[in-house]
């Protein structure tokens, strides 16, 4: 795995500068059902294809960003600050 991620702040950087933060999953509202909470806490979609995910630029600007990546090809389609897209 040696693809590049475009950090919105630092530009194209090696994936080794980042920490993977998992797929973006909306957190249930405080009063949500037990099933929703269990699903959020324990289950992962594990997509084979395009998914939106969290990355932390550990060896760079130390900010969390989101990336849209194809998990089959490691093609990164888009990266952006989390502000630009509701959590």
């Amino acid at each position: 795995m040696s693809f590049l991620l475009r950090c919105p702040h630092c530009g194209d950087r090696s994936v080794y500068e980042f920490r993977f933060g998992g797929e973006v999953k909306p957190r249930p509202a405080p009063g949500a059902s037990e099933e929703e909470w269990v699903n959020y806490a324990y289950n992962r979609t594990n997509s084979a294809g395009v998914q939106t995910e969290w990355w932390y630029h550990r060896s760079g600007c130390r900010q969390w960003i989101k990336a849209v990546r194809n998990t089959r090809t490691n093609e990164v389609l888009e990266t952006f600050y989390p502000e630009e897209n509701a959590r």
Binding site: M1, S2, F3, L4, S14, V15, R19, G21, R27, P28, P30, A32, E34, W37, Y40, A41, Y42, W54, Y56, R58, R62, Q63, W64, N74, Y81, P82, E83, N85, A86, R87
Partner: protein
């Protein structure tokens, strides 16, 4: 002129010599013994491809002598032969070849006991080379990170032209060439006719040439793995991580041997090998020569060899050849209709595109009957191929194997592991018809040459025996690294990062015995003039804290500053208890859980002002906590700023009944229990150093955690030691701290808790404020609050013995829980500890059994701290 040693004998080397050329000039013809049969092998390709010249150079095994420059004082040793290359007793193996058919491990060693008898012997004779002994002087390797707009792999005529073209267009170019000089095959096919572009290229400021470097992997994102030999006298090898926007592969073609009987005898050279000896090293390789080949290439070779004074006895077409004659070196050649005597056979082998790199990168390899080779197709984006690697400029195919398949026991397809054409035919007849299964069964293409020499003949035999075309048979899969890379180069420089606290050298002067915690060095305990025995030293430190005063360096704690209008809001959300109502000047213990309700970390939060908090985390979890806070902040738009102060602050925990007297002498601050109560924080000067003081008590005594700028850490330490002298203060280490906190049943997250622990199970329900609106973990904790299945409890051993951390708690002879921490408590006079037990055994006074050295010893549960259960001493 330089001199090196081969098996202890001095060898003279001319300028430009490799180890192999100098040995050949000195008369050596046998360079290695083969892997399985220990047959003598001599120089063949002289280009670093074949396995025939691998030696031990300065302790490193399997070094290819033909591409290793000879250097003064080098120590070269033969390998895989005993006692010498000329007389190798293990060569007897070739007389027992019928006992070692293809796949013989699987066929003959089927009985379990047979393998046990055979294994030690096989281990002794199998394998290639010896690893350097543990006491060998270490070698230096380094890593470099380079970037280029265009990376060109291969410094032959096509690579030079491509580099020149890209550079002329203004691009930043890196040219990678595995030879000492660029020029590729022109250096030995047309010596003296170096293209003018080489000189031009050197004049280009935007071209960097990496000589004696090869690309072993072409990875996604335009990453090239490049290994450069001898980058400078201080490093043995350099691994270059090269990022390029465009990659031009100009790896050219390489020559492979032909199949005939005894085709592996010393004295049989590939045409490229003979040319390299002649034109690069000025060595005349023999006197009476037979050339096997056809067409202009063979004619040119004959004329060049004649020019060097070699007698060309005969020029024979490959399909006429029957076999070479000789036992340890070539004495003649048999062909259809006759034989000749000679001391040299030069084979014009097929030239194959060196497309392994392209194949690794995802290109398809398509069979071209016109070229007699697999050619790269469907290249990945940003990768192009130029020159002979594409098949251009290669002569029409020599069928391989020529004529019908010659299944012979001395027709060597794979030189690396002694696989003959007979072995392949046998393997196919046993059902291994697919090229990939045939490869795994026979090990052809799996040796050090990584299939370069043998892949095409193996595919050819497989195709003919199974009645398929070459294209249908296909190739085996190319994977990086190819060519191979030393483990040292991958590991890189021998750097072990160490973090030292600002007081490190004070600890050293006090006789610290070190404990590694991650990258940090922390004093485990301090040796004293009376004793260096751990138990006695720890006991002395323990007593100082309980009876007088002690101090411990806690600079390794994670320290974060959280500021901004919404700081309290963020802390309320992330931590399980409430912080927005924490008044300035107060400290609160804090726990982080995730949304599954699992405890992730603990620490303290001090309120400095309404919009300013000071957090401490455990030593190992700082990075996690910082990222966790940032993550929950990301995208919220809240006004919060998190700054990591860990490296900027030093910290000392001063504790003990007389800690107040020690501190009072160093500060103008009123440190009385009334003015500075338990769980309060203040900012003040201590020993004239600006400090943040937290009145907390991990060890269970009146105490302060004093944070000062790192540059003043040593001054603070010395001032405290000096002021404490009159009170009998002692520095204490991590081991005494662990014992002190255990008597208070203070847990260490990650030691006493694990990846499934909720605060309820850790007996810390008081840190969870379920009445808060929302926080991370609330949903899970609301449901978990009821009845934990397991409970973390304290215990006191009722019999002699100190359980190891991790010992089992047993019930009816079965494991029912485990001890997380246990120490001998001087106060109790017996061992105490913390353990996980089933909820049913968690009641005060319950009897449990703990396994100590195999015996289940009685212990009694207690959920009250062993020491000062009311916490009165903390508040004094």
């Amino acid at each position: 002129m330089s001199r090196f040693f081969f098996d202890g004998e001095p060898i003279e080397a001319q300028p430009g010599d490799t180890v192999a050329s100098a040995l050949y000039r000195a008369g050596r013809r046998i360079f290695t013994r083969s892997f399985k049969y220990h047959r003598p092998r001599g120089l063949l390709c002289l280009s670093g491809h074949c396995p025939n010249c691998m030696m031990n150079v300065d302790g490193v095994p399997n070094v290819r002598a033909c591409v290793t420059p000879a250097r003064e004082g080098m120590r070269v040793r033969h390998q895989n032969a005993w006692p010498s290359l000329e007389q190798d007793w293990l060569s007897a193996a070739q007389h027992f070849d019928s006992l070692m058919p293809v796949g013989w491990y699987y066929k003959t060693l089927t009985h379990p006991s047979a393998w046990h008898v055979a294994e030690p012997w096989i281990r002794k004779v199998a394998g290639l080379g010896d690893p350097p002994p543990p006491d060998a002087p270490p070698r230096e390797y380094e890593h470099a990170f380079l970037q280029a707009e265009v990376a060109v792999v291969g410094g032959g005529p096509s690579g030079i032209a491509a580099a020149f073209e890209a550079a002329s267009g203004g691009a930043q170019v890196i040219l990678i060439d595995d030879q000492p000089e660029p020029g590729g095959h022109l250096r030995y096919t047309r010596p003296g006719e170096a293209p003018a572009s080489i000189a031009q290229l050197r004049g280009q400021p935007n071209v960097e040439l990496l000589a004696r470097a090869y690309c072993f992997g072409l990875y996604e994102g335009g990453l090239l793995g490049v290994l450069q030999a001898d980058p400078h006298p201080g490093a043995h090898e350099r691994l270059v991580h090269l990022r390029a926007k465009r990659v031009v592969v100009a790896t050219g073609a390489y020559e492979v041997p032909l199949l005939f009987e005894n085709n592996d005898l010393p004295g049989i050279l590939l045409s490229g090998g003979a040319r390299r000896l002649l034109f690069l090293h000025r060595i005349v390789p023999g006197r009476r020569c037979v050339i096997v080949g056809i067409g202009a290439r063979a004619e040119d070779l004959a004329s060049d060899l004649r020019g060097a004074g070699i007698e060309i006895v005969s020029l024979i077409s490959p399909d006429e050849v029957l076999g070479a004659v000789g036992s340890t070196r070539v004495e003649g050649l048999r062909f259809r209709g006759g034989s000749v005597t000679c001391d040299l056979i030069v084979v014009c082998g097929p030239l194959l595109p060196d497309a392994g790199l392209l194949s690794q990168a995802g290109a398809r390899l398509a069979w071209s009957a016109a070229h007699g080779a697999f050619l790269p197709a469907d290249l990945p984006p940003h990768v192009t191929a130029v020159g002979r690697v594409t098949g251009s400029g290669l002569e029409p195919a020599v069928p391989l194997p020529p004529g019908e398949v010659r299944a012979g026991k001395r027709h060597f397809v794979c030189l690396c592991s002694d696989v003959t054409s007979q072995d392949l035919v046998d393997g196919i007849s046993e059902g291994f018809e697919h090229i990939e299964t045939l490869k795994r069964y026979t090990t052809a293409t799996m040796g050090p040459c990584q299939g370069r020499m043998c892949q095409l003949p193996a595919i050819g035999i497989c195709a003919r025996e199974t009645g398929r075309t070459m294209g249908e048979t296909g190739t085996t899969t190319a994977r990086p690294p190819s060519p191979s890379v030393t483990l040292g180069a991958l590991a890189g420089p021998r750097h072990h990062p160490v973090r030292r606290t600002p007081m490190h050298y004070q600890h050293e002067a006090l006789g610290a015995v070190w404990l590694d915690m991650g990258a940090w060095k922390r004093p485990r305990y301090y040796r004293t003039a009376e004793s260096s025995e751990e138990r006695r030293c720890v006991q002395g430190e323990y007593q100082a804290v309980r009876e007088r005063a002690g101090m411990i360096d806690v600079s390794t704690l994670g320290k974060l500053e959280v500021r901004g209008r919404d700081a309290g809001r963020l802390l309320d959300k992330v931590y399980t208890n409430r912080f927005s109502d924490l008044r300035p000047g107060r400290v609160r213990y804090c726990v982080i859980c995730d949304d599954a309700g699992i405890m992730l970390d603990d620490g303290t939060i001090s309120s400095i002002a309404d919009d300013h908090y000071f957090l401490t985390t455990t030593t190992g979890n700082l990075e996690f906590v910082e990222q966790w806070l940032e993550w929950w902040l990301a995208g919220t738009g809240w006004d919060v700023h998190i700054t990591n102060l860990t490296g900027g602050l030093a910290a000392v925990n001063l504790a003990g009944p007389q800690a107040r007297d020690v501190l009072a002498g160093l500060t103008g601050l009123d440190v009385s229990a009334k003015a500075f109560p338990y769980m309060a924080c203040r900012q003040a000067l201590v020993a004239d150093i600006p400090a943040i003081l937290l009145r907390i008590g991990f060890v269970g005594e009146t105490g302060w955690e004093i944070h000062v700028p790192a540059e003043s850490g040593e001054d603070l330490w010395k001032a405290l030691l000096e002021a404490g002298k009159a009170f009998g203060i002692r520095a204490f280490g991590v081991e005494a701290q662990r014992l002190l906190r255990l008597e208070k049943q203070h847990v260490i997250v990650g030691v006493d808790t694990d990846a499934l622990t909720s605060p309820y199970e850790a007996d810390m329900a008081w840190v969870v404020k379920l009445e808060k609106n929302d926080f991370i973990g609330k949903a899970a904790l609301s449901r978990a609050a009821g009845d934990p299945r397991e409970q973390l409890v304290g215990f006191v051993m009722q019999e002699d013995g100190v359980p190891d951390d991790g010992s089992a708690v047993v019930m009816d002879g079965r494991p029912a829980g485990r001890v997380t921490s246990s120490r001998f408590s001087p106060r109790e006079g017996r061992a105490i500890g913390l353990a996980w037990v089933p909820a049913g055994l968690a009641g005060e006074g319950a009897e449990i059994r703990v396994r100590v050295q195999g015996r289940p010893l009685l212990a009694r549960v207690t959920r009250r701290p062993f020491y000062d259960p009311e916490g009165a001493r903390l508040r004094m």
